[in-house]
């Protein structure tokens, strides 16, 4: 299993995407070893499901390709299309479907090697078109073709497709797509969209005219399969207009598309409309036509998104007429034939609703005259759809339309008491009531249910959108709505009271309304509501559920009650909550997945509640509160991990992690916990599936180790006994996605050991120096972290068996690339700090050479900052003269050049408390104690350096530092598909200050300067006037005053001795993830 790459720090990790829930199925293929057919079906099936995830195909294929390593590549200069190529490709694609790993891997390897040869894409496309080849092989080739384009079409990609080949592909693909069978057509249509994303329209002027004329041909020939293929392609090409900001380039593209396609689109719609009327009785034709019309309406949406084009304004009557038609006409041939037929027509109606919603929102003036008619049509449709099961999509888009109307200037349409009554009664309540599908989801797919119910990915569910409508109307008629909804809630509860076991859904409805109409509050910590009095509602409605003795009875109500508790946790007084804690712990043992998940999540969230006592915020619940229930809590949590489908339940693991962070960890607790966690760890190593679960698991281990050993260092060996075998197994079995975690845990263990480091760790030290490990970017931060630990705990070991040379090799490699330069310094700094200069001296020339080469060829602002910090550390550790001599031995007078060109200009951009202190102290020492700088000839350098120091010390960080463009993380640098690095908070390193003795760098600097100026009376004032900006001259005076105030309390400075040092800033590698 592979984690999905995510963009560091900026986006939510993609793995939280709801549609990824069934991810494991595609990866279990190998272990289940199904027959070839079922494999391919499964593959294609799962591929279809993941259509929306951009890189998924690439992921799948790369994953498969990665497996194969050692086979003979087919190396040709250019792939020629002949019988031999056809044979090779067909066989390879067939083999990729093989249930046996050997031929499959070989085929995958062959294909991935062949992909580098020119005309590979063209050859695969030809294979797709080859009617004599088996459909299954062609389909596989089509998928491969599309992935090939995805990674190689953009000219900036690692191995771009040559221009000539591209042109040929562009010529071939449209007719090929149109003549292909539907599955292949879908793949080729997407491939076309991939090309379009980059080339359309400017680099592919022939495309749109070609599509337009094919469209005409297809319509005239009643060739509806081609029609749909063309429309689907156009639809994906035009989608870009839906999510880009308005700008001249995008408007130019839009104009081009409008000029070429707006009129044909209208005539297509009209002619499809006519054909739909003719085909009224023929379900098969109708099916294709309804789909075609839906695509037309989606294209309409794209073309109208940015602005209202003149063409559509002029033809608005025609369009609105068409739209209304589909909202009001029924198609018995499809709709009476079953749910699938209904949903097909509903998709079309939903597309209409989206279009009129858009017009309502943005072109309200134009739309005004149609509004009333549409509101009526949508209304009638909705009353029917709300009463029937399913029809979710239509209901959602239709209610969305009404919501937009309710918040517009025309909200008065909904002002009447009668209308409001109808809305709550006939639309909202029926849609909020649980349906069979909800119950089914609750039982069959608890992960998805929770995502929708609790994590707000329900924006497009009918329950949620019904509440959105209420909120929309409440914008103008708050009191009326509050009153009506309160009445409805009351009615629901009354019905429930009449017959609790039959009418339980009414209670669920009441709870849902209260939770959904509440306003979210900061911290995701809580919500508030005007609908009910939370405390009394909690006592009268929720508590009885929570006190129910059967943890498996009426599970949806129990889940609702737990959710209510979780959501309103801040408002529930501590005493009330504490009285229920035992009950919630009890629900951890429910057999229903949602119920035990909600119980775990409730506890976890409670532990995060903070109270503000006016001075600071403090956790409301502490170890004292959970210690009494701790044993049964842990037992139930680990117990739930044994229940079916909850083996990797992330809510459980997150709760375990949170409890371990807060509870008092006695050896009695630690021992079963580490055993339990290790067991789980060993299990997930077999087939890592759920990244969130795994992350929480490692975090839990790190917490446990840290907190237990803090209290009781003697536990370290016990933890080692438990953990080391698992960690070694991860390394031995190459569970690569866990490498970053394993290295971080190892680093934590190394840190916990008192020197000398036990010998078994030294083996790991040697493994650590294997160059291969460092090739994967995700490993690097963790490896650096581990290496740092070794360098500090065992500096002397470093000097043996040539290890130092290897470490410096790694440094050299890391520092050579902008994406890893900072990591390079994380290695270099502890070396310079912990080793004697005599050991280092022979390597210094090489180190400077690689640093200065970077500086010369490809410097980044960060590199210069890191370099200043490194030189500062060098200076305070080994003395000024050593630094100057060492640099000057590379080239005469180099030091002053570096100082003038890099150090001084960049000094003011240094950030971070420790870093500022270090560089300020080092710079001042340089200023006051370096003979060469004190030489009158170096007056200018001296003045400017002082100017830099004053800026650094007098201005706060945000005023000194300018915005810097985001530097891409190294996931991009190495490309491909790999595990990401996720930092374990609890295995982190504490930042240590190499200058502990100096408390205040301002004080230190001024003192040193004062001393200097008393030595050289009258020499510096003119220099200061000349080289310091007026602002800095004033700041310098301020600094001196500041120090005078503090003088007398401390001595100037003490000499510092060997202190541990690390930069400790690994934040930039952290993947930010906010879990609900």
């Amino acid at each position: 299993m592979i984690q999905i790459l995510s963009v560091v720090g900026l986006t939510k990790p993609i793995f939280l995407h709801p549609s990824l829930a069934p991810l494991p199925s595609s990866f279990q293929i190998r272990t289940h070893a199904p027959s070839p057919t079922s494999f391919s079906l499964l593959l294609i099936h799962s591929l279809q499901r993941f259509k929306s995830i951009v890189s998924f195909y690439a992921v799948c294929f790369n994953h498969i390709l990665l497996i194969a390593r050692h086979l003979n590549p087919v190396k040709t200069l250019e792939m020629e299309w002949n019988q031999q190529t056809l044979q090779f490709l067909s066989q390879s694609f067939l083999d990729t479907l093989s249930p046996h790993p050997e031929p499959r891997r070989r085929a995958e390897k062959n294909l991935s090697d062949a992909a580098d040869t020119p005309n590979y894409g063209l050859a695969v496309l030809r294979l797709v078109a080859e009617p004599s080849v088996d459909e299954q092989i062609r389909q596989c080739a089509a998928v491969n073709f599309k992935n090939h384009l995805k990674t190689r079409w953009v000219p900036s990609s690692a191995n771009p497709i040559p221009d000539g080949e591209k042109e040929q592909i562009k010529t071939l693909i449209v007719p090929l797509m149109l003549s292909a069978t539907s599955r292949i057509q879908a793949q080729l249509s997407e491939a076309l969209a991939v090309i379009g994303n980059h080339d359309f329209p400017k680099l592919w002027p022939a495309l749109l005219p070609e599509l337009r004329s094919s469209l005409e041909t297809a319509i005239n020939a009643n060739d509806f399969a081609s029609l749909n293929g063309i429309l689907a392609t156009v639809n994906s090409l035009f989608k870009k207009f839906r999510y880009q900001f308005k700008s001249d380039p995008i408007l130019l593209d839009l104009k081009y598309c409008l000029d070429n396609f707006a009129a044909p689109l209208l005539s297509t719609v009209e002619s499809i409309s006519g054909k739909i009327n003719e085909a009224a009785g023929s379900a098969a034709t109708l099916r294709q036509l309804i789909e075609a019309q839906r695509l037309c309406f989606r294209i309409f949406y794209s073309l109208n998104f940015l602005d209202l084009p003149e063409f559509f304004e002029d033809t608005a009557d025609k369009w609105m007429n068409e739209f209304k038609n589909y909202l009001t006409v029924r198609y018995p041939a499809l709709e009476d034939a079953g749910a699938e037929g209904v949903s097909l027509v509903d998709e079309l109606r939903a597309a209409v609703c989206e279009n009129i919603s858009h017009y309502m929102e943005k072109e309200e003036e134009l739309f005004q005259k149609y509004l009333k008619g549409f509101v009526e049509a949508v209304w009638s449709l909705l009353v029917i759809a709300s009463a029937s099961p399913s029809r979710e999509r239509l209901t959602v888009t239709a209610i969305k339309f009404l919501t937009i109307v309710s918040t517009s200037v025309h909200h008065a349409l909904f002002a009447g008491d009668e209308i409001l009554q109808q809305i709550t009664q006939s639309i909202v309540i029926p849609n909020v009531m649980l349906r069979d599908e909800d119950e089914e989801l609750f039982e069959m797919n608890y992960v998805e249910f929770i995502r929708r119910d609790m994590e707000g990915s329900d924006l497009d569910t009918r329950r949620r959108i019904a509440c959105e409508l209420l909120k929309g109307i409440a914008g103008n008629y708050k009191e009326k709505i509050t009153e009506r909804v309160s009445t409805q809630i009351h009615n629901c509860l009354a019905l429930f009271a009449e017959n609790p076991s039959a009418n339980w859904k009414y209670k669920d409805c009441a709870i849902y309304l209260v939770v959904s109409l509440a306003t979210k509050k900061a911290g995701g910590a809580s919500i508030s509501t005007d609908l009910v009095d939370v405390e009394s509602f909690f006592r009268s409605v929720i508590v009885p559920e929570l006190q129910g003795q059967d943890v498996n009875a009426f599970p949806m109500l129990k889940a609702g009650a737990l959710k209510f508790f979780t959501m309103f946790r801040v408002l529930i007084p501590k005493a009330v909550a504490m009285a229920l804690l035992g009950d919630v712990v009890r629900f951890l043992s429910s057999d229903v997945n949602v119920v035990h998940s909600y119980a775990a999540s409730c506890i976890e969230k409670l532990l995060l509640v903070k109270d503000n006592n006016g001075v600071q915020s403090q956790a409301r619940y502490t170890s004292v509160d959970i210690n009494p229930v701790l044993p049964v809590l842990m037992t139930n949590l680990f117990g739930a991990l044994e229940k079916p489908e909850s083996e990797e339940n992330q809510y459980m693991m997150r709760c375990i992690m949170r409890v371990l962070q807060i509870a008092d960890i006695s050896p009695e607790v630690a021992s079963p916990c580490i055993t339990g966690l290790t067991t789980v760890l060993n299990r997930v190593c077999e087939n890592p599936k759920n990244p969130v679960f795994n992350h929480c698991l490692f975090e839990a281990v790190a917490t446990l180790v840290r907190r237990a050993c803090e209290r009781n260092p003697s536990l370290v060996p016990a933890f080692e006994t438990c953990l080391l075998p698992s960690l070694q197994m991860i390394l031995a079995k190459e569970v690569t996605e866990f490498f970053p975690y394993a290295f971080q845990l190892l680093a934590q263990l190394v840190d916990l050991n008192r020197p000398p480091v036990p010998p078994h760790y030294m083996q790991i030290f040697d493994i650590l120096l294997t160059p291969d490990l460092w090739k994967k970017s995700a490993n690097v931060p963790a490896l650096v972290r581990l290496l740092q630990s070794f360098l500090q705990q065992a500096p002397n070991e470093l000097n043996r068996e040539g290890r130092l040379r290897l470490v410096l090799g790694i440094f050299n490699k890391l520092v050579s690339s902008p994406s890893t330069e900072e990591q390079g310094f994380h290695i270099l700094n502890p070396i310079i700090e912990n080793l004697g200069y005599d050991v280092m001296a022979e390597y210094m020339n090489h180190i400077w050479a690689s640093l200065f080469t970077r500086l010369q060829n490809n410097k980044t602002a960060r590199l210069v900052r890191c370099l200043i910090i490194f030189m500062s550390l060098f200076l305070v550790k080994h003395g000024i003269q050593t630094l100057v001599d060492s640099i000057n031995s590379v080239q005469t007078n180099l030091f002053h050049a570096i100082l003038g060109q890099f150090w001084i200009p960049t000094l003011k951009t240094i950030t971070g408390h420790t870093e500022v202190k270090l560089s300020a102290v080092a710079s001042t020492k340089l200023l006051c104690e370096s003979a060469s700088l004190l030489d009158p000839a170096a007056e200018e350098l001296w003045g400017k350096l002082l100017d830099g120091i004053v800026t650094l010390l007098s201005l706060p960080e945000e005023e000194r530092v300018e915005d810097e463009p985001e530097v891409p993380d190294f996931g991009e640098a190495t490309g491909g598909y790999q595990a990401t690095f996720v930092r374990l908070h609890n295995a982190g390193k504490k930042e240590e200050d190499p200058l502990k003795e100096i408390q205040d760098p301002k004080h230190f600097s001024v003192a040193l300067l004062a001393n200097l100026s008393s030595q050289f009376r009258g020499r510096f004032p003119p220099v200061i006037t000349r080289y310091l900006s007026p602002a800095n001259q004033a700041a310098l005076v301020q600094l001196c005053r500041y120090v005078q105030v503090k003088k007398g309390r401390e001595g100037y400075y003490k000499l510092w001795s060997g202190v541990k040092w690390s930069l400790g800033h690994t934040d930039s590698f952290e993947v930010k993830s906010t879990f609900w």
Binding site: E310, T407, K520, H985, T1074
Partner: protein, 523 residues
Amino acid sequence: MISADCHDYGFYVLHDGFGNAAVQRRRHHAVSVAKERREAMFRTKRLCTEGFSNDMDVHVAINGDMMIEEEPSVLEAQTSSAVEELKLAIASKGIDTVQKKVNALRELRRLLSRSDFPFVEIALKSGAIPLLSQCLSFGSQDEQLLEAAWCLTNIAAGKPEETKSLVPTLPLLIAHLGDKSSLSVGEQCAWALGNVGGESEELRDLLLSQGALIPLARMMLQDKGTTVITASWALSNLIKGPHSEAATELIKIDGVVDAILHHLKKSDVELATEVAWVVVYLSALSDVAIDVLMKTEIVQVLVDRLAASNTLQSLIPLLRSLGNLMAGDAYTTNILLDPSHETTDSIIRSLSKCLKSEHRFLKKEATWVLSNIAAGSVTHKQLICKSEAVSLLLKLLINSPFDIKKEVAYVLGNSCVAPPKEESGGVPSLLLDHLILFVRNGCLSGFIDLLKSSDLEAARLGLHFIEVVLRGMPNGEGQKLVERADGIDAMERFQFHENDELRMMANLLLDNYFGETYGFDDE
């Protein structure tokens, strides 16, 4: 580390949103896919139903009355026969030829002046164009020239292909604009050309290449009201782009600038309105024109006019001209609208008047101009915030249709952010007084409504404002306000949005201001 990121990002986007981009936004997008609404209705082409010389008006009136009774089929036949008559008249030789021609032309013109029947099509089919072209030849009597040009004017007011049929006659029409022809003939020809120019970019280019610009511009220098009106209208059709060359050329013609100022000061509303439209296009298209105009008293003149005008037709070009002129760059705005000067007060007063108007379009244009002023210096922002405009804007943000809301959001947003100071490295700071004033008056919910819309630009405005509120409101009040206005929910909609900028910003704001304490770093 994280909070620093957000900070920077916040600054960055604000800068982009309410700072520089606001300046760029002042200019309409160069590429327009949308219709030029409203003005298109009454500006692009005009049918000429009234002549310029008094003696003919009599005929028109009489003939007009007579025509009402006639059947369409009869009219159709009349049209064809009118063309036939003309053909015969041209072919005939004799003393009364000229009168015959004039009579035939008059009959044809009479028919073509009716807008409710497709006479143009019939006339064209009957071969009217070459005949009319012949009638335009130099040396003909004014009456004949006038009637022929009038016929062409109304043919050009027809459908696109009908307008195009004038192409062979264009050189003659243009030639008559000059000194060799009488003013009334020139005026009628200008009208015909105006209709041609209003049709399409292609025909505009053709007219320009045939040298229509300079003689038309010279007509603007005349003193006769109708001449200037027609010439101005024709010019505005001629220079309206999308390319800027014509506008730039026009402004460089001697006397044009003076004429514009001169006419704008006259009491004739129609005249001033037409001239103002020329200013609209000059300022919308050409930076050179803006430079030239800015060196004159134009703003003062426009502002005076704005204060004195009350009709939709006259206000629109004035508003738009002012908005466009301020679109040069912040520097010109600041110089031009000296905050201490009466002009600036006056313009804000006049704009407030428009904000109160019933016409949605006036409200929108006025808001747009205000957003341009609000993008100026801190003093400008203060002027707006002290005026009655603020209370009007705050009401509009809540109660008006979407497009106006969006414009209002720009004004309010711009008014909360100060232009970056030099030493701060391009980071704009906040004007807390204004922010607090707006927020206290309930504008946050308006911005959050924008955030919930499907319009990306509006959503971006909403996000920027939320960022400002979160960052700027004292005592961390921002978080509470945003959550009370259901802002968290609104931002969460963007967590998986396809637009990178919106997604990143929403997630950053959520993480940094509303993120759950992850719980690891506390100990």
